[in-house]
């Protein structure tokens, strides 16, 4: 408890605001990810649109059982957007979390409250993931003009998949030893996950097994909103469950790995523990 007559001893920098600011900075300095966002997203849209436009595809909405006959180009743009978001959000968060792990451990050792650091990091990841989703959803407008509510559904789906793969990036960032393993898992995982949902050349699409993939919920929500004019909130929530699960596991591992393993408290060693 601080005494009111000693204002000069009050900490000058709040732990939460400092950690939030520097975590956002940490995650936005990844130049390769920025380049992917600016160049890869439009290029990927262009290629996918050229490949699939004009074809009519059957897409099953699981909530209603309805099979939609949709423009393959538009559906594939959603897949391409989801895929870009998985890769970029996953990559950005994985890279930043992994590189900062030893530093975060040092911060905790120096007295940073772990829960504050975790809260700030999570919020920073959510903000960065949402920004990536917003950009990717805006870029799709160059190729396709869905209705406003349709676009909002696509944006929401992108935001949820960005959170999911951001959370996966966090989990892998605290778990795997080398860069390559993490990148491989994120890229291959995201590619399989998002493109298996698309019936374009995939005999597995519309099969129940797809329900067990993270992008199932967001893809259903985006297609339902853009083509079926329904808002499948339950499916959007399913995507959020994936995001919450990945981040919960990731944050528990983060907590363990940045834990301050100082010896048990002893009166003489009180100062060793983070000052209250």
């Amino acid at each position: 408890m601080s005494t009111p007559d000693a204002p000069e001893l009050r900490p000058r920098y709040g732990q939460f605001s400092t950690a939030l600011r520097f975590s956002v900075r940490d995650q936005t300095r990844n130049r390769l990810a920025g380049l992917l966002l600016v160049l890869f997203v439009p290029l990927w849209y262009l290629v996918m649109d050229a490949m699939a436009s004009g074809e009519t595809l059957d897409f099953k909405l699981y909530a209603t059982g309805e099979v939609l006959h949709v423009d393959g180009g538009h559906l594939t743009l959603i897949s391409a957007g989801l895929n870009s978001v998985t890769m970029i959000a996953g990559f950005v968060v994985f890279d930043a979390v992994r590189k900062a792990l030893a530093f975060d451990r040092r911060l905790v050792f120096a007295g940073y409250r772990q829960s504050t650091l975790i809260g700030a990091k999570t919020l920073a990841i959510a903000a960065v993931a949402t920004a990536i989703a917003l950009y990717t959803a805006l870029a799709v407008l160059f190729f396709w003009r869905p209705t406003t509510s349709g676009w909002c559904a696509v944006l929401a789906a992108f935001a949820v998949i960005a959170l999911t793969y951001g959370a996966l990036g966090l989990l892998l960032g605290v778990l795997v030893k080398r860069d390559l393993e993490g990148f491989f898992l994120i890229i291959m995982g995201g590619l399989m996950d998002t493109f298996l949902q698309n019936p374009l050349g995939n005999p597995l699409a519309n099969k129940p097994i797809l329900e067990w993939f993270p992008s199932f919920g967001p893809m259903q929500f985006a297609a339902g909103g853009a083509f079926g004019h329904t808002a499948l909130w339950g499916h959007l929530a399913l995507g959020l469950v994936w995001a919450a699960s990945f981040s919960a596991v990731g944050l528990v591992i983060f907590r363990v790995r940045t834990r301050n393993r100082t010896r048990t408290p002893h009166p003489a060693e009180g100062a060793l523990l983070p000052a209250r």
């Binding site: 530093f103 040092r106 911060l107």
Partner: protein, 219 residues
């Protein structure tokens, strides 16, 4: 303690009979170390002698098999390999650790930057600093809260001569103000700078001067 003798000041750092093994490989076998406030001690050991293990135990990041470490006051630790965030500038590092230690300002941090002579890099990101400057920042972060006990792991590695001398000015200032400093190193250039040199050999610490009590290193 013999009756009538002046009571020694309470040690700032005391390790008693530390044992540590990894599986069947015994690294520390009854290491003792006592450091009084205002003293400077070097723990010297060859590669593989168990320096890192002892250091982690003293820092409290590794548990002991048996023995006890007690520490009085605040504690600062400078790791051998700089632990920094490549995306943040020197100034931002100071702010981050000021938040960690709940410091009222950056005065001490800026003073350390000046004392170690790298103030022109205040706005440079850590990822673009030279090895020596990274090491200076690494040391600055350990000293930021002006700890009572300071544990430095090979602190002057990569320092040029001028910085090496500045480093010793800094350490002298710390000692004058009653801070206990332990430097862990595989090589000591100037023995006379230290109050005590303790050789880590065969899992135990032995004072280099023969007059000391057997196997118990006091400073």
């Amino acid at each position: 303690m013999a009756p009538g003798s002046t009571p020694a000041p309470a040690p700032a750092l005391q390790a008693r009979d530390i044992h540590k093994s990894y599986g069947r490989h015994s690294v520390l076998r009854g290491a003792d170390l006592t450091v009084a406030p205002g003293r400077l001690v070097a723990v010297v050991g060859e590669n593989g002698a168990g320096k890192s293990t002892l250091l982690k135990i003293l820092a409290g990041t590794l548990s002991v098999d048996s023995g006890e470490v007690t520490l009085t006051g605040t504690f600062g630790y400078c790791p051998q390999d700089p632990v920094l965030n490549a995306a943040l500038t020197v100034e931002q590092h100071l702010r981050y650790f000021a938040a960690a230690h709940r410091l009222p300002g950056l005065d001490r941090g800026r003073e350390l930057v000046r004392l170690l002579g790298y103030e022109r890099y205040a706005q440079s990101v850590a990822g673009e600093l030279s090895g020596g400057t990274r090491q200076k920042l690494n040391l600055t972060l350990a000293l930021l809260h002006d700890p009572d006990v300071l544990l430095l792991d090979e602190p002057y590695q990569g320092f040029d001569w001028e910085t090496y001398l500045r480093f010793w000015d800094l350490v002298d200032d710390l000692r004058t103000r009653g801070k206990a400093v332990v430097i862990i190193t595989h090589m000591v250039f100037e023995q006379n700078r230290f109050d005590l040199l303790a050789d880590l050999d065969d899992g135990r610490l032995t004072p280099r001067t023969a007059s000391m009590e057997e196997h118990h290193v006091d400073a």
